[in-house]
């Protein structure tokens, strides 16, 4: 992001700082991968729909090809003992990565007691709704959106 900001605003002068900030904030509330939405927004601001398309493809195609190659590599070599051992280590890292993602999603909302309570209710509630009540993730997300709309976040008041 910092590299894009320097390149697009300071070096090329293609967009203004406030447009960049708007693209960033809207990308945060766009479903899906925020970075892709940010590139679409920035590209659209510079060159319209074609700009959005080119920006999204430029950021996603090389890494997608690499991901396919890595996956194919895992498939080809999965019977190899060394590869299996290495993948076993990385699978453990994925679990740590998922728990870190949980922390990074929740921690910005733990600044005040009411925020902590709200985070506990929504995060813990979603966990229990799936784990114990058998609700689907989509149902939980829809319910969270509705409850969040009705119960305003303390910092937003």
């Amino acid at each position: 992001m910092a590299a894009l900001q320097r390149e697009l605003i300071e070096r090329k002068g293609w967009i203004r700082q406030d447009d960049f900030a708007l693209a960033y904030s809207l990308a945060r509330i766009t479903p899906g991968t925020n970075l892709l939405a940010f590139c679409a927004a920035t590209g659209a601001r510079i060159l319209g729909l074609w700009g959005a398309l080119v920006a999204v493809l430029a950021i996603s195609v090389p890494s997608t090809v690499l991901t396919v190659l890595i996956t194919a590599g895992y498939e080809t070599w999965r019977s190899n003992a060394s590869v299996t051992a290495a993948v076993g280590g990385t699978v453990a890292a994925v679990v740590g990565m998922m728990w870190a993602s949980v922390w990074l999603l929740v921690s910005p909302h733990l600044r005040r007691p009411m925020q902590v309570l709200r985070a506990l209710i929504f995060t813990g509630g979603a966990f229990l709704a799936v784990w114990k009540l058998g609700l689907t993730p989509v149902q939980v997300i829809a319910l969270a959106a509705l409850l969040g709309f009705l119960w305003k976040e303390p910092a937003a008041e």
């Binding site: 693209a23 945060r28 509330i29 479903p31 899906g32 991968t33 970075l35 892709l36 939405a37 679409a40 927004a41 659209a44 959005a52 999204v56 493809l57 996603s60 890494s63 690499l66 991901t67 396919v68 890595i70 996956t71 895992y74 060394s82 076993g88 280590g89 990385t90 699978v91 453990a92 890292a93 994925v94 679990v95 740590g96 990565m97 998922m98 870190a100 993602s101 949980v102 922390w103 990074l104 999603l105 929740v106 909302h109 985070a119 929504f122 995060t123 979603a126 966990f127 229990l128 709704a129 799936v130 993730p137 997300i141 969270a144 409850l147 969040g148 709309f149 305003k152 976040e153 937003a156």
Partner: protein, 171 residues
């Protein structure tokens, strides 16, 4: 599996999440629990493949698509990955003012918090599969701490974990 169904299932996952990894619970529910198209082990491997290289966090869906239907599946998954990004264009027009309103912002924050709970629930069976001894447990703990509190790239942790797993297996 029909590629359109694959695309729509993955699109549902990406459309109902607000960060790359947050789509994982929906993917697991549809592909592992409901349709048995993937095992937890394959889903784990997909996440590893998605995070080993550079690029956006949600890339693991491409690997999921590849596991389900090879290259055509990967392409369908790629389309499902990038499609939601274009929603930002009409949003720039229509949500420019509303995005800052307290209730909309509050609803989005609630969805983000709920996503964390869903991600935690998804991690439980994966953790059961991955933590088979003290070494994997240590890898989990170190990865959690480093990614939570430093800016080290996850690709380095993946590489380190692979080396530790290899060394531990030969020891």
């Amino acid at each position: 599996m029909n590629l359109i169904v694959l695309y729509l299932l993955l699109l549902k996952a990406t459309l109902t999440s607000f960060s790359g990894m947050a789509s994982l619970p929906v993917v697991r529910n549809d592909f592992v629990v409901e349709r048995h198209l993937l095992t937890d082990r394959q889903l784990n491997t997909a996440v590893v493949a998605g995070r080993t290289g550079p690029g956006p966090n949600g890339l693991y869906v491409v690997s999921v698509g590849y596991f389900v239907d090879a290259l055509p599946g990967a392409f369908a998954a790629f389309l499902a990955l990038i499609t939601p990004a274009f929603l930002v264009i009409p949003m720039m027009r229509w949500l420019r003012e509303r995005a800052g309103t307290p209730r909309i912002r509050s609803a989005i924050q609630a969805v983000i918090l709920a996503s964390a709970g869903l991600l935690l629930a998804s991690s439980i069976p994966l953790a059961g599969d991955a933590i088979t001894g003290y070494v994997p447990l240590a890898i989990v703990a170190v990865t959690f701490v480093v990614l939570s509190f430093t800016r080290v790239d996850s690709a380095w942790l993946m590489l380190g974990a692979a080396v530790v797993g290899l060394v531990a297996a030969r020891a």
